[in-house]
Every structure is written in C-alpha cells, then in structure tokens.
C-alpha cells in the first residue's frame, strides 16, 4: 500500500517475478507471486481435506464435518444439475470449486495477492472447462454434438442464422465465465482499496477529517463482508456453470 497522500488501488495487482527460470522460445519464464499463491492454495486445500478426513469417525468432529459439508454441498449441486451419471465429473467440478474458492479467500487476506483477479488465470480455467465440454461432447455423441447448434422447430430459412447465433453464444461461454470471475474480483478489490484509501486521506485533515473518515471506514467493513460473499459466490457460480455446460455435452438437444 502507498502512503496517505498517494493511494494506488491497482498496485496490488502487479505480478512480480520471484524466481526467474530463464526463457522459453522468446518468452520469459518465471516463478511469480501468482504462481506462489496458486501453490499455497493447492497446499491449503490438500492439507485441509487430509487433516479433516484423517480421523474418519462415524460421528465427525469439527474439521471433518466442515470437509464433509464441502463435499456434500458440491456433490448435491452436481447431482442436481447433471444427475447421477454426472458424478463422474464430480472430481473436476470439485477441484475447480475448491481451487477458485481458496484463491478468492486467500485474496481477502491483507497484503496477499489475488490470483483470480488476473484474466490469464480465469481465462485458462474457463478454456479448460470449455475444452472439456467440447471433447466430452464429441466423444459421447460423435457428430451428434453439433445438434447443440441446431435448435428444434426452426424453419429451414432461418436455420443458418440461428445456428450462427448459437455458435457465437457457445463461444461466448468461456468469455463470460472468465470475465465474470476476473471482473468481480478485480472490481471488488479496487473498490475496497479506494474506500480504505479514503480513510487515510481524510484522517490526515485533523479532527473533522477523522470524524469524516468514519463513513468510509464503515463502508470498508461492509464491502469486506460483501467481498467474502462474492468470493464464495463466484466460486460457486463457476462450478455450477461448469455443470450446466457439461450437461449440454452429455445431452446436446435443447
């Protein structure tokens, strides 16, 4: 963070090279702070799940019930959207959900880097989802997957136009998937920083400044709470939409 007279709300998104790893085909390769936080997130998830399930009691303890809740919650969501046959995608969806959730929540810790505020990361995750959908769709249905772009009961005259729109709509999915997560995290953290910056700036103006700083202070608290909600919701929405898109891959008729 900057000092009170120089607030820089986007400074938190700068990607630093921690360990340079040389160059690959004219591209710089380095272990960056984003990579570090991704490793931290994965380590946290694995540690959390392993410690939680270590006891394996019939009547779960505190940690175990949290882990079980997480599992049941996602399993219920996958079953609800995809049905029982969709449970073979559960590991994929669960990994995505926990990874994004851990990254979002790590970003809420002061001075920590928010990996999901980088569109490269969210776009990679979205592309992973959409390539899974395309591959599963073609493996399961063969060429019948193309039926996804041909809705029922459309007159032959309109079919090319509608199909084109359907195709654009399909390719808009990864874009919207990545933009939503990226946009939410980026915007939320900037707003948080701006309001927090107001406190310092106003506080520098003597007594009345400190009095006036109460308003942005309350706002910062409220937005912090909202950001925790958003961190969870965006991870959840990402997972749900993954399920919804996978459903199209399994049953490509509207």
């Amino acid at each position: 963070m900057a000092t009170a007279d120089k607030v820089d709300p986007v400074h938190q998104f700068i990607v630093n090279d921690l360990i340079p790893l040389g160059r690959v085909a004219d591209m710089k390769l380095a272990f960056q702070n984003s990579s570090l936080f991704m490793f931290v997130a994965v380590a946290l998830i694995i540690g959390f799940l392993l410690i939680g399930t270590r006891a394996r009691k019939l009547v779960p303890g505190r940690m175990q019930s949290v882990v079980e809740m997480l599992y049941e919650f996602m399993a219920g969501t996958v079953r609800q959207v995809l049905g029982e046959e969709g449970m073979k995608f559960f590991p994929f969806v669960f990994s995505l959900f926990t990874f994004i959730l851990a990254l979002n929540l790590l970003g809420m810790v002061p001075y920590f880097f928010t990996v999901t505020s980088q569109i490269v990361v969210t776009a990679s995750l979205a592309l992973l989802v959409i390539f899974t959908v395309i591959i599963v769709g073609f493996v399961k249905n063969g060429i019948g997957f193309v039926k996804l772009f041909v809705p029922h009961g459309v007159p032959m005259v309109l079919l090319p136009l509608i199909s084109l729109i359907e195709i654009i709509s399909f390719f808009a999915r990864p874009v919207s998937l990545s933009l939503r997560l990226f946009g939410n995290m980026l915007a939320g953290h900037i707003v948080l920083k701006v309001f927090a910056g107001f406190i310092g700036t106003l506080g520098a103006f003597g007594f009345f400044g400190v009095l006036g700083a109460i308003a942005p202070f309350l706002m910062t608290i409220a937005i912090t709470a909202l950001e925790f909600l958003v961190a969870f919701l965006q991870a959840f929405v990402f997972a749900v939409l993954t399920c919804v898109y996978l459903k199209d891959a399994l049953h490509p008729h509207h």
Binding site: I165, A172, L229
Partner: protein, 114 residues
C-alpha cells in the same frame, strides 16, 4: 416428573383418562413449539442464500453472458475483416449477431430458473 404426577393424582381421577388427556395436550404443545422453532429457523436460514445470494449471482450471470456475446461477436467480426479485407461490414454484422447471441443466452438463463 411424569411419574410424580401419576402417583400423586392416582387416587382421585380415573388414571387412564387423565394420562391420555395429559399426553395429547403435551403432544399438541410440543408440535406447536416445534413448528414455531422450525419456522423461525427456516426464516433465519432462507433469505441469506436464496434471496440475496442467488439473485446476486444470477444478476452477474446475466450481465456477463450479454457482455460475452457482444465481445465474441465483435472479435469475430474484426477477425473476419482482417482476413477478408471487408473492413466495416464484418464488424457490423457480427456485432449484431453477437448482440442477438447475448440476448438469447440471457433469455435462456432467465427461463432455466437455476
């Protein structure tokens, strides 16, 4: 508590009758209390996730679906223009198509209900 009562009042009223009344009364009271507690708990639990949470996430879904459609249309149109040298036409046509795709995706999401 129950035993106490039965022993104390056993001599005056027919025991079976009083016991059954007592039991029915208690059951009714218990059900009433349970319903009240459950209602309060449901009310406490419901709004957090169903009202605010899902509506909030749905709003973001709708907004980003529309944005995604328009963006993809624009990029596709621009790409076609670059490839074929049909400068403004591709962008205009695909922007409109992307607009249509965004609206269609939004309508579909709105209808699906989840």
């Amino acid at each position: 508590m129950n035993d106490d009562r039965r022993e104390g009042g056993g001599g005056e009223v027919p025991p079976g009758h009083s016991d059954q009344d007592d039991l029915a009364g208690r059951k009714a009271r218990l059900e009433q209390t349970l319903a009240k507690v459950k209602g309060v708990r449901d009310k406490q639990r419901a709004p957090e996730r169903t009202d605010f949470g899902t509506n909030y996430s749905k709003a973001f879904r709708l907004a980003s679906e529309f944005t995604g459609g328009v963006l993809v249309g624009a990029v596709l149109g621009w790409g076609f223009d670059q490839l074929l040298g049909t400068s403004p036409i591709g962008l205009v046509v695909f922007l409109l198509l992307g607009f249509a795709a965004g609206v269609m995706a939004m309508v579909r999401t709105g209808r699906s209900g989840d």
